[in-house]
Amino acid sequence: MTVDLPGFADPVGGAQECFRAVLDAMARPGAIRAAACPPPAKLHAATAAVLLTLVDSETSLWIDPALAAATDWVRFHCGPREVEASQADFVLAASLPALDRLRAGTDEGPDESATVILQVADFAAGQRLRLAGPGLRAPATLDVDGLPTGFLAAWEANHALFPRGVDLILCARDRLACLPRSVRIEKG
């Protein structure tokens, strides 16, 4: 195992700052927030920061084989239990996993659902999403480059499960945006 990158320069401050960014972005779907730390191979700065902030030895994680090069870094800095995607608290992916295969929680415990940390190419181009729902006074738009064509249908099914369902954290370079299960998405 060779890990030669530090995590946050200031572990406590960095994690709190990033947690606030995720919290804000989750509360206002489509809002883009900044988060960064020195990323290992294959990960973007925001993806690495979100992992350092949310994942630790008390959570379970599934890592997309496409991002396997970052596995050592994740083990060293976060030390999560590594499990199958269908069991995981957090799913780290470079392409959208089948949302209906992930943990959706139960009606009594909707918090037991999975959170997908999805690394995408960019927020400035690509598919335009029109978002509406809690946290948004007026519908918002979000451009995401890196979602597959079947995303809207998969999201429709996920949104219909509310209060169950998975939440998405989208990370691109040093920016992140969130799509909580409560948000309705239409083609913009």
Binding site: V3, D4, F76, H77
Partner: protein, 153 residues
């Protein structure tokens, strides 16, 4: 305690064990005679956490969760590129960081010999002497319970 000879990390394990038991003051004093350690960056820590210490303390020989002990761990990368680790069984950020830096320096072929001779060897000798002193003091008070020994064997 001789490590298994087929372990490729035996040598490093031996010096890490010595460093983990050394105090920050002892390490600093010995480093004063060496070329300065290269600049480093911290990859993780120094940070304190708890680990469960297990021991075979029952009569039956089974492992038992003795309790949690505080450990400090630190990982650094020296300017020369080596990554050094240290985990020590007490709360001492300075000792953990120094031990990790010395571990990194020992992996650098250009520094290994000087470090091993001037830091590890004296530390190991001092630790061995302390161990023997303690063993001698304990041995002087040993009482042989022949009946118990017979029953247990």
């Amino acid at each position: 305690m001789t490590p298994a000879s087929d372990d490729p990390n035996a040598e490093r394990k031996a010096w890490m064990r010595v460093l983990a038991r050394a105090s920050a003051g002892d390490m600093r004093a010995l480093l004063a005679d060496c070329p300065a350690l290269p600049p480093h960056i911290r990859l993780r820590g120094p940070e304190v956490g708890l680990v469960m210490a297990r021991g075979r303390i029952g009569g039956g020989g089974g492992a038992f969760n003795l309790g949690e002990i505080a450990v400090t761990r630190c990982t650094v990368r020296s300017e020369a590129g080596q990554v050094g680790h240290a985990t020590i069984a007490r709360r001492d950020d300075e000792a953990a960081e120094l031990a990790a830096r010395i571990d990194a320096a020992l992996q650098d072929p250009a520094r290994h010999d000087a470090m091993a001779a001037r830091v590890i060897t004296p530390l190991a000798a001092a630790q061995e002497k302390r161990r023997q002193d303690a063993a001698r003091r304990a041995a002087a008070t040993q009482v042989q319970f022949f009946t118990m020994a017979t029953m247990r064997s």
